[in-house]
């Protein structure tokens, strides 16, 4: 059923053209469009529903988060209001019929939804998901790169003495491997048994604990020299069970972390916040627990490489506990292949545009006004000649500069 205004006369009509559907922002899936047209001048141009291959179509927008499947009726805090929980309800209607359906193929360019919106961590990280952490070299590389950066931000004293560290959300022990390489002893926390099984298979050097960080860490006070956490803290913002209260869980986590850390010790927690509210909620909970510090954002202008690290210091603030600077904050771009530490990889003095107020940097403008130059032209002609193409001979006129009045 398509409700549509602007059509003039009332009554129900049937539309057979795709244009009206396209105008409503409805994604086209098949050439056959069967929709009922109810003209109502009062409703305005707002097509809500239509029939598409005799299936209800819903409005699909690529820039929004994909609609949650009816299976997840979980509440996510921070998406709507300050203290308001949004209970995900079945927006599509007819959830029972859709449950057995095959999942819709993801469109090109559409983002994979974050794991946090899919299932609770102990369910999401099942055996097949955990297996990815040993087989995918991309995941392994990203994990170890983040861990190295977290260790750098942890700023342990460089005296060669191994430390006792915490790895919260250690998963399959990838981050722990980096800690072991640096010679430290570590205790790993994770809620997913499958991930810990993988860690045991990989013979992780640290001690593993099956525990929920939202219930508190359960450690003696003041015994740990530092803590890292890779992509774990944002899970605390979800209320996966009716007994979960994200605020209380964050409080329990940061409170117990603060207690178990030694004076002056640091904790570096890398997290993916879904939105600003979540980020604020995490930082506020950390500050309430007594930590000093803040968020360091690496590559803030890149959607993929952007990583937020919550750098926390235990104990009174001192002169040397100032927050380190994030990478790429001066507007430099990071590319996938080079881990440029200086972040200024500009060639031949090409200028980058100031991008402080923009979410996304502008594409680098072409600065050469004079075209590509004689050398480029000669090289191109030589290439074509080698391929056997008919190319005019090189003369003194080749690639010469035009007169300005041309």
């Amino acid at each position: 059923m398509v409700t549509h205004g602007g059509g003039g006369g009332g009554g129900a009509r049937t539309i057979w053209d795709d244009e009206a559907a396209a105008a409503a922002g409805v994604m086209r899936r098949s050439p056959r469009c069967v929709g009922e047209f109810i003209g109502d001048p009062l409703l305005g141009r707002d097509i809500v529903l239509g029939l598409w291959d005799s299936r209800p179509i819903s409005r699909v927008s690529l820039h929004r988060r994909p609609m949650k499947s009816p299976v997840e009726r979980r509440s996510v805090v921070g998406t709507l209001g300050e203290s308001r929980r949004e209970h995900t309800t079945d927006l599509c209607g007819g959830g029972e019929e859709r449950r057995g359906e095959k999942p819709r193929r993801r469109q090109r360019g559409e983002r994979m939804p974050r794991p946090e919106v899919q299932a609770p961590p102990e369910i999401f990280y099942n055996e097949s998901e955990a297996r990815k952490y040993t087989t995918s070299s991309r995941i392994i590389e990203i994990q170890s790169r983040i861990t190295e950066r977290a260790l750098e931000l942890l700023a342990l004293p460089n005296d060669g003495v191994p430390k006792l560290l915490l790895d919260i959300g250690c998963g399959s022990g990838l981050s722990g491997e980096t800690l072991t390489e640096q010679g430290h002893h570590w205790i790993g926390y994770d809620i997913s048994k499958s991930m810990l099984d993988v860690a045991l298979e990989r013979e992780a050097e640290g001690d593993l604990l099956l525990a929920d960080m939202g219930q508190g860490l359960g450690l003696r006070p003041g015994v740990i020299d530092g803590a890292i956490s890779i992509s774990a803290v944002q899970w605390l913002c979800n209320a996966d069970k009716s007994c979960h209260n994200p605020r209380l869980r964050l409080k329990a986590f940061f409170g117990s972390l603060y207690r178990c850390l030694a004076r002056g010790a640091r904790a570096v927690l890398q997290f993916y916040a879904d939105n600003v509210k979540q980020s604020e909620m995490i930082v506020t909970a950390a500050m309430r627990a007594g930590f000093a510090g803040g968020v360091v954002v690496d590559w803030p202008h890149s959607s993929k490489a952007k990583k937020s690290y919550l750098v926390l210091t235990c104990g009174p603030p001192s002169l040397n506990s100032s927050l380190p600077k994030g990478k790429g904050q001066d507007g430099a771009m990071c590319s996938d292949d080079d881990e440029s530490d200086d972040g200024s990889g500009d060639e031949d003095g090409a200028q980058t545009v100031g991008i402080y107020e923009r979410n996304r940097p502008k594409k680098r403008q072409k600065t050469k006004k004079n075209g590509k130059g004689k050398a480029w032209l000669l090289n191109k002609k030589e290439q074509l000649r080698r391929r056997g193409r008919e190319v005019p001979a090189d003369t003194k006129y080749t690639g010469r500069k035009r007169k300005s009045y041309f």
Binding site: L164, L210, A211, L217, G218
Partner: protein, 133 residues
């Protein structure tokens, strides 16, 4: 799980006052060789709860592994302590870092809540009604 971790771990179930030290029930344990590091042990020594560590070694059936009193700094940094098999350093190293508990349980001293250990991983997950909030 090594005894180092056991020494740090406390129960945070509802009703536990300190939840420390967790009583150790050992079904199976193993020894894995590790490189002794005197600096690490010297740094850890002030943080170790010595009576709890001694009680843990007794639960393992190794009453003579550690003395009643903690070793002094001088004993740990003595010349050739790392090489000498019976030195205080090597004993501490063995107790803290080489003994792994594979199967067993940890019991909260206040509430008698039992946390099972399987394949060396203690299950510290609490039920909804045991969470302290």
């Amino acid at each position: 799980m090594r005894l180092l971790t056991h020494n740090m771990l406390a129960s945070n179930a509802r009703g536990a006052v300190t939840g420390y030290p967790l009583k150790l029930q050992v079904v199976k344990w193993s020894t894995k060789e590790a490189e002794p590091n005197p600096e690490f042990l010297r740094g850890m020594l002030p943080k170790i709860d010595w009576p709890a560590l001694v009680a843990a070694t007794q639960a393992l059936g190794l009453p003579e592994l550690l003395p009643e009193a903690p070793p002094t700094d001088a004993e740990l940094s003595a010349e050739g302590a790392a090489a000498d098999e019976g030195s205080a350093l090597r004993r501490l190293h063995r107790a803290l870092l080489e003994i792994h508990i594979e199967e067993g349980a940890l019991v909260c001293p206040d509430t008698d809540r039992c946390f099972p250990i399987s394949r060396g991983v203690p299950n510290m997950l609490l039920h909804e009604d045991e969470v302290r909030n």
